[in-house]
């Protein structure tokens, strides 16, 4: 198994081995958490530029002209630069913010700690997975500064736009770099997934049966499993796209294409093939992100309601059902793609089945409050916010899974509003809930509650303001990925909306600065955390804050009970850690 505590004490590792090229899951987790956070800031900055263009298209931004001399030449945004911004905002947020911070960050940090293990099953692979992400990010960032600019075919990279370099400025080198970045990401994520599944199945502490695992662990296990099943097809698809781009194959290119004044020699392929392969990954991918969001929410919620997670077993089964269904509904992204419409009806019915286990998870979250004694900490409040977002986002999904309604809503701002609530919002709030909650464990300091609460209000309320409004902007017909929407008469009645959305967006971005300040300030002179500041029951709270290399001293914890025992008040406390032996046992 992994390194033992004594071994490390004997050979104190160098600074480099300890904090940079570390194989310790906690350091790797924190590296992911931080890297993802920085990418989140970059992604938000790009979102800010998008909002500037959509709201004040005629204003001259001289400062931005200095940063992006080509895309913002003379202080005005070029349409191709706008499309690159949308593409890179989505790509960065999904692959390099939420995936890294939530799944890789908390996953690596928590899996051994909550299972009672000293490290992940393959620590070296784990280190490698992080260090592959670094070039992926550099490649993605560099693409902004190459000829033609960054990729401009959306985060979905549909061919032929993404396959033919002449089809758009961003389809040149920028698109190639995009594909390389995503391929590196997949390689890294696959290593991580293997590690998650192996560790969770093999390295559980004595007594930690599957049904005693915290829901966070369940959600990471299921997410890693669907990730491992869904990523290989996308990898294959991406390689085929690279072949089409550089080796003259025609997997996605039919006969008779006429691009930029030229007839292309390709023939025999179909653009729809990419869409099937992409969404076969893409849909499960959003569950790879959202399931950990839900798991984390439960684990953060419970210590602040002082009640067990309501319906633990049912929730586990629902997570499994969702995971299964998520693999067979990818076609709901393709109702109007030209795919056989009969299959569309099948996908519609299948998609709406997902609402059933999702509803059960949502009401179980709400019911976890019943009979409790709420402690409204920042972490707990963010977890409550996640429940709201999951509700709004999920109900928006009922519209989009409905093939008839989707004819009108597909590729409009409604979709953008919906997925921001789900993969943007549920995950964002889960990241914050988890950060406020586990920060004391990660760094031994408690984040400021005052700043935390202001941060909460400046996140949740503006988020509704932006993305609920965006739903209705889409219902009014506004197409997505539009550089400007001013010429369409049907949008006259909702022409007030962009300003509202942008105002909230900038308020929300300002609010996020408080989190950065909070982290820095608390690291520097925050309140020192003891082992178990929230009086929680799971195993990570039995290790010191922060835990040493190897997590526990000589003896690993032994588990005697389920993860959420907050009912039986014994010895003046209202919680029983998982390590407390059963009475008489």
């Amino acid at each position: 198994m992994a390194v033992t505590a004594t071994e490390t004490e004997a050979h104190p590792p160098s600074f480099l081995r300890r904090y940079v090229f570390s194989t310790d899951h906690k350091i790797i987790g924190i590296q992911y958490w931080l890297t993802g956070g920085l990418m989140g800031i970059l992604g938000a900055f790009l979102a800010g530029l998008i909002r500037l263009q959509l709201t004040w298209p005629t204003t001259q931004w001289n400062l931005l002209a200095k940063v992006f001399p080509v895309g913002m030449e003379g202080g005005f945004m070029k349409p191709e630069f706008y499309i690159s911004l949308v593409t890179m905002h989505g790509t960065i947020m999904i692959f390099f913010f939420v995936s890294l911070t939530l799944v890789s960050g908390f996953g690596n940090y928590l899996i051994p700690l909550q299972l009672g293990a000293r490290d992940m099953a393959f620590p070296f692979l784990n280190m490698l997975s992080y260090w592959i992400i670094v070039p992926a990010i550099l490649v993605a960032a560099a693409s902004f500064f190459v000829e033609g600019g960054a990729a401009g075919s959306g985060w979905t990279a549909y061919p032929p736009l993404s396959a033919i370099p002449e089809a758009a400025p961003g389809s040149g080198l920028g698109q190639t770099l995009w594909l390389i970045a995503v391929a590196l990401f997949i390689a890294s994520f696959t290593m991580g997934g293997l590690n998650y599944v192996t560790t969770i199945l093999n390295l559980r502490a004595r007594g930690m049966s599957l049904m005693r695992m915290p829901l966070t662990i369940w959600s990471f296990l299921i997410a890693a499993a669907i990730g491992l099943l869904a990523f290989p097809p996308l990898t294959a698809a991406a390689i085929m796209l690279l072949f089409d781009r550089h080796l003259g194959t025609s997997f996605y290119l039919p006969e008779g294409l006429f691009v930029a004044g030229q007839l292309l020699p390709n023939g025999g392929g179909s653009p729809l093939l990419w869409q099937h392969l992409f969404w076969f990954l893409g849909h499960p991918e959003v569950y790879v992100l959202i399931l950990p969001g839900l798991g984390v929410t439960f684990d953060v919620l419970v210590p602040f309601t002082r009640r067990p997670a309501f319906g633990y077993k049912v929730t586990v089964y629902c997570l499994l059902i969702i995971a299964f269904l998520s693999m067979v509904v990818w076609g709901h992204h393709m109702f109007v793609s030209g795919m056989n419409p009969l299959i569309g009806e099948f996908f519609s019915i299948g998609t709406l089945l997902i609402t059933i286990p999702s509803t059960v998870i949502g009401v179980n979250m709400i019911a976890t409050l019943w009979g409790g004694k709420l402690r409204l900490t920042s972490a707990g409040m963010f977890a409550l916010g996640t429940i709201c977002f999951f509700g709004v986002g999920g109900l928006g999904g009922v519209f989009l899974g409905n093939a008839a309604a989707d004819i009108q809503l597909h590729d409009t701002a409604f979709v953008v509003g919906h997925f921001h609530f789900m993969i943007g919002g549920v995950t964002l709030l889960a990241i914050f809930a988890g950060s406020y909650f586990w920060f004391p464990k990660m760094f031994g300091k408690i984040l400021s509650e005052t700043l935390g609460k202001i941060h909460f209000w400046l996140t949740v309320v503006p988020f509704y303001g932006i993305f609920v409004t965006m739903h209705f902007y889409g219902l009014a017909g506004a197409p997505r990925r539009y550089y400007s929407l001013s010429q369409y008469g049907f949008l006259d009645d909702v022409a007030w909306m962009p300003l509202v959305m942008s105002t909230f967006a900038f308020a929300m971005m300002a609010g996020q600065a408080l989190f950065v300040v909070n982290v820095i300030k608390s690291l520097w002179r925050g309140q020192v955390a003891d082992k178990n500041p929230w009086e929680a029951t799971t195993l990570e709270w039995t290790a010191p804050s922060p835990p040493p290399h190897g997590n526990w001293g000589d003896a690993l914890p032994v588990v005697y009970r389920g993860p959420y025992e907050y009912h039986a008040a014994m010895g003046g406390t209202d919680f029983v850690p998982q390590t407390a032996p059963q009475k008489g046992g």
């Binding site: 499309i83 729809l272 309601t305 109007v336 059933i356 409204l376 709201c388 309604a405």
Partner: protein
């Protein structure tokens, strides 16, 4: 390490504020959603799609409000520092609490799509256009719409991509007599009101999407495929045509117009265009 490191007292005030805001957010969504946003419908099947959308707005809107109010109430009630309930939810309570919402959701989601949604969807896609439909060919390209009507012979001329040039944007084969009288328009369509319109949708270069917001029509145009769609315009007027699938930097300006006119005016227009 003692009390200082525990979360401080969290009084009921913050609970009341949080509860109120959660409730207000739910009500806010509902109030915002109770307004009309859909562009006024202008096609026959669009009425069915609107019925679907309105049904969803009402049902899910109700659930949004209910969900927020219940959560808000729970926050209000259980943040007031009472003792933790020592009893655990029974198996029965647990079952009821999950089965009832699941049933409601099943009825709303699956019921809606089966009863209202799928009939509209399958009328559009499986029944196909009636035989008296006007046939128009629309070929999308970066960044405009080529619209072609068959001439008096009712037949489209053959197309050959190798013949495409600036003067011959579709690659019409001059040796095919059927094509001689074809009518070519740019980003402009004329159709008579209340007659089914059948559009044969093609694309020259990349994906586009034929989007008529007032007519509740959206269909991707895929290179290498000819996709049939149809609808019945029910109101006269000039309507927007937009592109709904990212096709490059000019995506946002791929605007077109659909003129829905009376039968006589349509005939007049055709006559005139045939020259």
């Amino acid at each position: 390490m003692g009390k200082a490191n525990r979360p401080g007292p969290f009084g009921s005030t913050s609970g009341i504020i949080l509860a109120a805001v959660i409730g207000a957010l739910g009500v806010g969504v509902f109030v915002l959603g109770a307004r009309r946003y859909l562009p006024p419908v202008a096609s026959r099947h669009g009425i069915g799609i609107d019925a679907m959308l309105v049904y969803l707005l009402v049902t899910t809107g109700t659930l949004v409000v209910l969900g927020h109010l219940v959560l808000g109430y729970f926050v209000f009630r259980f943040s007031r520092g009472r003792e933790v309930s020592s009893s655990l939810p029974g198996v029965r309570a647990e079952r009821i609490w999950s089965i009832v919402p699941a049933l409601i959701m099943t009825v709303i989601a699956e019921g809606g799509v089966l009863v209202i949604g799928i009939p509209v969807f399958s009328e559009l896609y499986t029944e196909g256009p009636p035989s008296d439909a006007i046939v128009i060919e629309v070929t999308a390209e970066q960044f405009t719409w080529n619209v072609r009507y068959p001439g008096a012979d009712g037949a489209f001329g053959r197309l050959d991509p190798s013949l495409i040039s600036a003067e011959n944007p579709l690659g019409l084969d001059p040796s095919d007599p059927a094509g001689v009288d074809d009518i070519h328009e740019l980003a402009l369509m004329y159709v008579p009101v209340n007659r089914p319109v059948r559009v044969r949708l093609r694309a020259k270069d990349v994906l586009h999407s034929f989007y008529l917001p007032y007519h509740r029509i959206k269909q991707d145009a895929v290179p290498g495929m000819t996709i049939d769609l149809w609808f019945v315009p029910t109101r006269e007027g000039e309507f927007d045509l937009a592109c709904a699938e990212l096709c490059g930097f000019g995506h946002y300006q791929m605007r077109g117009f659909l003129h829905v006119v009376s039968e006589e005016e349509f005939e007049r227009w055709l006559e005139e265009r045939r020259g």
